[in-house]
Subunit: 463 residues, 2 copies
């Protein structure tokens, strides 16, 4: 439990209204997008300036109080759970878009700006920021940087780190450090900014972000393809990627997700389909026409049972709404959902799906999946109940098998969600031990008292 | 001078023919693409395996012998000069393309593969690796990773680090560390790979690289625009970037370079032009037609005196040959050439050019420039003679003014060449002091004896 004098100092730094201690307030910051982790913080602070963040961290560092940085808490690996209690430092009130520069194709924002609000502001000026985690309606940009978030658009446009040009980061000792700038090229020393993209709040608190933008593609077209067999759908993805066309998005949804969404919000989805691919081409109108035709041809040859090309923006939006509702549909299907985030090489997707089918049969667990097929990044989910220890343990063991299957195909533990709490027990299997040790040493330089998001990414040695 | 027993141990590790000690051999490894730096190594080793690299580094580390990793030595910031003597570890014999995977859109290579050889192998399969430093005919892929190289294609496609998916790196103590993998998304822990992209050989020796590829764009079109005023040309670049079209390349060449190339290899260039923009659109044939039309319209409105659209691949190749000959043209123009590599925000390009004109007038130094205008990345060059101390000092002072002018516009010290020896005296002005200190601490973790490329990036304190 936090000392009263620390809380009273926090109130001095931030003002009464920006320091929450009531149980019902703390509750709201005790969980994130996962269904497995809950832990109460002692206090929640809502700073509005980097200077306040600096003073909070200095105070916490002097008193060795854990600080868990948090955006909107939409992450799905347990990264924003205050597992050691202490302070939750929530950036949602630092939500100003500071600059959008159409000629330089850059924008500077505070970390608490909601991704969707940013996208709307950009679209008004004909601009585009591609990384699109499917929590875009709520997630904060700071959170997407700390997690190096992905999303459907990453097939063509790459992940979050590829758009970060400049960061202001407050270090554990309160120092406000400037990294990078507003130029698209910068070779001034080591790529230190890239340590913070994907650091999951363990190395510093991001307080300002400069991002590279693109012009909004003038046209796009969405296609839906239905398959009788999931692995055949996976093979179709490989064929598209090998054909020379790069769609903006290639998403994969299984029968369970289709049915579940249709139950929740009927939108006339093909509930009998074993698997469904959603594909979007974008670019100039002429290029989109040509690419869409090429994609439809490949889908036909790949054994798609049915192919629908969205006739207009409304129809396309309906398809994509289904996809973005996918995670909610999965997470609301059981008391506890273990959602993996493995990625395999794109040419191993069909093989991986077959292996998942085997694991499901053997374990008896139904496995649902959706994901970013164009990146080989699937989210296999197991439905279980954490209150039933025996079943939960078995579910975790099955998750381990899924992970081993991905690794055996040259895959990785996490494609875009990060490690957080959810995947840390697998980390040693997934990383070179010297690289893991290097991470811990870098953490030691930047946060010697281990106050920043302690207990995350790697397992503390169980003494 | 290196102890004889170290050299004899190197011979044991590598064999006689892979250890060079003759003066005429060492000479060839005493300089790089700069004209200001020369230093003889004591010995040059040419390993062919990561295991050999590991044994060399272990031996060097045990004996505290400096090791300067080197690819083809084409870099232009002094990064591969063995400024402290010792061992030059040259990777040019590790030159195998290990895998090209068309479906996964990845390739795995050894560090000594020449970029042009790689591009030729990829083109045969309809594949494309965008980063294109203009030393592509000779530079090695390992060198481009260690320098995080840029090039003309980066306007549309981004810099080298955005393509690195996996690295094998030999650490100073000889440990062979594996980072990343072959998937396009990977969120397993911190982005440690990004420490090595741009590390300029100071953190480890890269021995294997997995890169993300793209399909070769099916069509492209090259345009040349001639301007009476350099800043007007710079403004045209801003107008193109703000218009919503993203050309693959936008290059800038000044009158000096045009004349110099025409003197060396007459190719009918417009020798009266004050500035010349070379622009390439790429993508599907229909998209390229549409984009080229849009670009030509903007160029006309921006005050271009003449616009030529290359009628065929030969004509386009001729234009691009001029651009890639640019650096050679500049570097052969004087005994010593100080070539800056500043980048400014893209909307500040015209203003920066005006400032360069002022600096030239005031200092009396003629400044030539060419560069990647689409990225705001220019290479202003001053012609001088290092043997004339007074003039050379004045040239260096003028370089400092150019750098200050770029910084004042929100620019950076290096867009793509790195710091090496050439720009280290400016580093303190260009970086947050705590970030600089963080770099040095990370170096201390990975290379506690400071054997790897010592004396580079930051200045050692002059005690």
């Amino acid at each position: 439990m936090l000392e009263k004098k620390v809380i009273s100092k926090l109130r001095k730094i931030l003002g009464q209204k920006a320091v929450l201690t009531a149980r019902e307030d703390l509750n709201a910051y005790s969980y994130d997008g996962t269904t497995t982790w809950v832990h109460m913080p002692d206090v929640v602070v809502l700073p509005t300036t980097a200077e306040q963040v600096s003073q909070v961290l200095k105070l916490a560092n002097d008193n060795k109080v854990p600080v868990t940085p948090r955006g909107a808490g939409t992450n799905v690996s347990g990264g924003s759970i205050p597992i050691k209690g202490g302070i939750v430092l929530c950036t949602t009130r630092m939500n100003k878009i500071l600059d959008i520069n159409k000629t330089n194709l850059t924008a500077t924002v505070e970390p608490g700006v909601v991704l969707q609000d940013f996208n709307i502001a950009l679209a008004r000026q004909g601009l585009f920021y591609p990384p699109d985690p499917q929590s875009f309606l709520g997630c904060t940009i700071g959170g997407t940087i700390a997690e190096n978030a992905g999303g459907p658009y990453c097939v063509k446009y790459g992940v979050t780190k590829q758009y970060v040009l400049g960061l202001e980061v407050v270090l554990a000792n309160g120092y406000i450090m400037q990294l990078g700038g507003v130029t698209v090229k910068n070779r001034t020393g080591y790529e230190l900014m890239m340590l913070f993209t994907g650091s999951e709040g363990t190395l510093g608190v991001i307080t300002r972000i400069t991002l590279r933008l693109m012009p909004l593609p003038p046209a796009n077209k969405t296609m839906m393809a239905i398959f009788d067999d999931m692995a055949v759908g996976g093979q179709a993805v490989s064929s598209i990627m090998a054909s020379g066309v790069v769609p903006a998005k290639i998403e994969f949804v299984d029968n369970f997700v289709i049915r579940r969404i249709e139950e929740m919000t009927p939108m006339g989805l093909p509930v009998e389909a074993k698997a469904l691919l959603l594909i979007q081409a974008d670019g100039s109108p002429a290029a989109v026409e040509a690419e869409a035709k090429q994609i439809v041809d490949i889908l036909k040859k790949s054994g798609a049972k049915e192919i629908k090309v969205a006739k207009n923006a409304n129809e396309a939006a309906r398809y994509w709404k289904m996809r973005s509702a996918g995670f909610a549909a999965v997470f609301s299907a059981a008391h506890t959902v273990l959602a993996e985030d493995v990625a395999v090489p794109r040419d191993k997707l069909a093989e991986f799906i077959r292996k998942l089918e085997d694991i499901s049969k053997k374990s008896g667990f139904f496995i649902s999946y959706l994901g970013h097929a164009g990146d080989g990044n699937l989210h296999p989910s197991i439905f279980t109940d954490i209150r039933n220890k025996k079943e939960f343990d078995k579910a975790q063991k099955t998750m381990g098998e899924i992970f081993e299957a991905a690794l055996a195909l040259g895959g990785v533990l996490s494609g875009e969600h990060g490690i957080g709490l959810e995947k840390q027990r697998f980390l040693k299997r997934a990383m070179d031990p010297v690289a893991l040790n290097l991470m811990i040493k870098i953490k030691g330089i930047l946060d010697p008292n281990h106050i920043l998001n302690p207990g995350k990414i790697w397992e503390e040695e169980k003494v």
